[in-house]
């Protein structure tokens, strides 16, 4: 649906982003229509207004926003674009909501290759279609060379929550089960394996994926039984559980031997001095589930292609200190703490 009237076609193959592509003039209009509209194509964008209008039904809505600054921009299993869409869908979906609409704001460094931008935008379009959402509003800014590391993307998302559903991190009770949807640390290790000064060879790919369908299946399997869900991104499972423990005034007790971790991820973590429970995920969730619903929810998870390795890894316990503790594979007991420092910057 390229607009007519541009003197030259956008040179997607070998061209580069120039400051004029963010200046509000014809060059920007061409970039938006020839690259972004092509990738995201939908009725809202086609109207070319400064905002997108849509009808809402009665009920509760959720909204989230997230900035993506990952480096490298392309990694095994995805790129910054697919990850931005998946990550935002997941933040909406963790409330139990059905994600519907996203907006995307691009901050592009002067000199960025159109071909890379197209690959990223196309991945976003594909991820959105796969996730059943539409990117209905956007913005493009170009900054001088050296003022941004290639590309930053900021995405906001909204979704609708079914009647009566109110998942929240302050609702966990003693005895609730802790379920994870699969192996931990894949995304973080995939990113690290491509970092310039740590690069190592591994077959691990990022787990970046949209989890809304898995969430829907889980909600159907354990109606009323799911207290809260989180996608453990930065800080990993350890951070997610510590946050929930504090909000619900409980502790958690995990069994290390039940936590799924791929051997290659365990090996990479060993090498880098990290622990998989601290490493970022982009396609996993942790759910705290009432004990009477846990088996049904876990069975539903295991039947879903994105959670075939799901596991019950522990339970909520009474603890004034709100500690997350773990019986280690070795038989001793330890605390699973938040990381104090930065494990690795710009992982998402």
């Amino acid at each position: 649906m390229s607009m007519k009237g541009y003197p030259r076609k956008l040179d997607v193959k070998s061209g580069r982003v120039e400051l004029s592509h963010g200046s509000g003039g014809r060059a920007m209009a061409q970039l938006i229509s020839d690259l972004f509209h092509q990738a995201f194509g939908n009725e809202w964008l086609a109207r070319c207004n400064d905002q997108a209008a849509f009808d809402v039904s009665a009920g509760r809505m959720v909204m989230t926003t997230d900035g993506y600054v990952v480096t490298p921009l392309f990694f095994p299993g995805g790129n910054i674009g697919s990850m931005a869409v998946h990550g935002t869908i997941n933040d909406v979906a963790m409330s139990g909501a059905r994600p519907l609409y996203l907006s995307a704001s691009f901050i592009i460094e002067e000199g960025f290759h159109f071909s890379d931008l197209k690959t990223i935008a196309d991945s976003m379009g594909a991820a959105a279609r796969g996730g059943g959402v539409h990117i209905i509003a956007g913005d493009t800014k170009v900054v001088e060379r050296g003022k941004a590391d290639g590309l930053f993307i900021s995405v906001a998302g909204i979704g609708f929550v079914a009647d009566g559903l109110d998942l929240s991190a302050d609702k966990v009770r003693v005895g609730d089960r802790v379920l994870v949807s699969g192996s931990l640390g894949d995304h973080g290790v995939a990113i690290m394996s491509k970092r310039q000064n740590v690069a190592f060879q591994t077959e691990i790919v990022s787990d970046s994926a949209a989890l809304h369908d898995l969430v829907a299946v889980m909600l159907a399997a354990g109606p009323g039984g799911i207290r809260v869900m989180r996608d453990p991104t930065r800080g990993g499972l350890a951070a997610a559980l510590n946050e929930i423990a504090h909000q619900s005034d409980v502790g958690f007790h995990l069994q290390e031997s039940t936590i799924p971790v791929k051997p290659a991820v365990a090996a990479a973590c060993e090498l880098l001095g990290l622990e998989p429970i601290h490493v970022a995920n982009e396609g996993k969730l942790v759910a705290i589930v009432a004990p009477e619903s846990a088996d049904a929810v876990l069975a539903a998870m295991k039947a879903h292609p994105l959670a075939s390795d799901a596991a019950d890894i522990g339970e909520a316990v009474a603890d004034d200190h709100k500690f997350v503790q773990m019986t280690t594979g070795f038989g001793g007991r330890r605390v699973v703490d938040w990381l104090w420092g930065e494990q690795l910057p710009r992982i998402c």
């Binding site: 090996a267 280690t328 070795f330 038989g331 007991r333 104090w340 420092g341």
Partner: protein, 380 residues
């Protein structure tokens, strides 16, 4: 994971725990110091203390090079990298190490200093080659394990005639620090250092061998068992220490025979002695000035020595007088005995060496001690 799971076997661990239990006398306490952060990590990571009898207590030693680096050396590094021509290469865990007056390399970086996190000496060489005209300074830190790579880097720089690369040397020596822990007059006067034996370093000993510990065991009549960093290594070393104590022996034993010999790695030691020489003394956070405990570059390599090259000098910074690290590192006091513990000194705002590393005695106590139901002073 092959080659590491074998050393993490739960069934063997239970067998060792039973053996330790059967060996200890209920009539006495056993206080063992694991010198290295690597052992401390294994103890907390695998929850080893849960497997030990109540009268066997582990004292976490000063064997984390970042933790024992004094504020004055961080200040010095910041002064170096404040020079516009300098790019400083550091290992990531140094970034948060506290200098004086709330300074750190992380803060200096935020203020615009050119500080690069590297993973090896080779990264620093690569950076120096990529940036001709810049002064690339490698922040060398660590015990005997990391010293040979630094020596090697300097020899590469020499053979490649690299003009822009130099080393800010903070390498320290393990046996000197163990000596200092045992030889503190203040504590000797109050009845001696309450340590019954040492778990000796793993990786350090692959380089220096077990021989350098022999005079220590002899002079202070303390058993030393050199052990690997895997949890089964640590348990076996504890069993060996308990046996020595019970039999009134004080020998250097080698649990880590799969990697350590009595002589150590001759080639690595040769490389180190070619490039480095002893400093008269070096300051350790928590231990103060320790004689013959640090290395500097020999005069023939002076042009690679950042301290000489930039004529920068140590400006000593007094430790917080209330900090009890000195006694805690020696097992003479416990973290809760320190007035600063949990007040102004926490893992987020560490003052003393024992709080700097997540595995230091105070940091471990802050996190893990509370779990074991011990009284921790409330924040006031």
């Amino acid at each position: 994971m092959k080659y590491s799971d074998e050393f993490r076997d739960k069934i063997i661990a239970q067998g060792l725990a039973r053996a330790i239990d059967a060996e200890v006398s209920s009539q006495r306490a056993y206080r063992f110091m694991e010198f290295c952060g690597g052992h401390t990590h294994a103890i907390s990571r695998y929850g080893l203390e849960d497997l030990l009898p109540a009268n066997v207590r582990m004292i976490h030693g000063p064997g984390c090079p970042v933790c024992v680096l004094p504020a004055s050396r961080i200040d010095m590094a910041i002064r170096l990298v404040d020079r516009p021509e300098v790019t400083l290469c550091v290992y990531g865990d140094l970034m948060r190490a506290p200098g004086s007056q709330g300074q750190s390399l992380l803060r200096a970086k935020a203020l615009g200093a050119d500080i690069r996190m590297v993973y090896s000496t080779l990264d620093a060489i690569r950076l120096a080659e990529q940036m001709p005209g810049r002064e690339v300074v490698f922040f060398a830190i660590g015990f005997e394990t990391t010293t040979p790579p630094t020596a090697n880097m300097i020899r590469i720089a020499e053979s490649k005639r690299m003009e822009g690369l130099s080393v800010f040397c903070n390498h320290v020596l393990t046996p000197s620090a163990m000596h200092s822990i045992l030889e503190n007059p203040k504590i000797r006067n109050t009845g001696g250092v309450p340590i019954d034996g040492f778990i000796g370093p793993a990786h350090v000993s692959t380089i220096i061998g077990t021989q350098p510990y022999e005079p220590l065991a002899e002079q202070f009549e303390k058993p030393i068992v050199v052990a690997g960093f895997e949890p089964l290594d640590v348990l076996q070393a504890i069993l060996m220490l308990v046996r020595q104590v019970n039999q009134h022996r004080y020998e250097v034993e080698n649990q880590y025979s799969r990697a350590v010999t009595r002589e150590g790695n001759r080639r690595a030691k040769g490389e180190v002695s070619q490039v480095f020489e002893l400093r008269d003394q070096f300051e350790w956070r928590g231990l103060g000035l320790v004689p013959n405990s640090g290395l500097k570059l020999k005069r023939s390599y002076a042009k690679f020595d950042a301290e000489t090259r930039f004529a920068t000098r140590d400006m000593p910074v007094a430790d917080n007088p209330a900090c009890e690290c000195c006694a805690i590192l020696r097992g003479a006091k416990r973290p809760v005995d320190c007035k600063l513990f949990g007040n102004i000194c926490t893992p987020e705002t560490p003052i003393g060496a024992c709080m700097v590393s997540s595995e230091g005695a105070c940091a471990a106590y802050w996190t893990y001690g509370r779990v074991r139901g011990e009284q921790v002073r409330q924040r006031s």
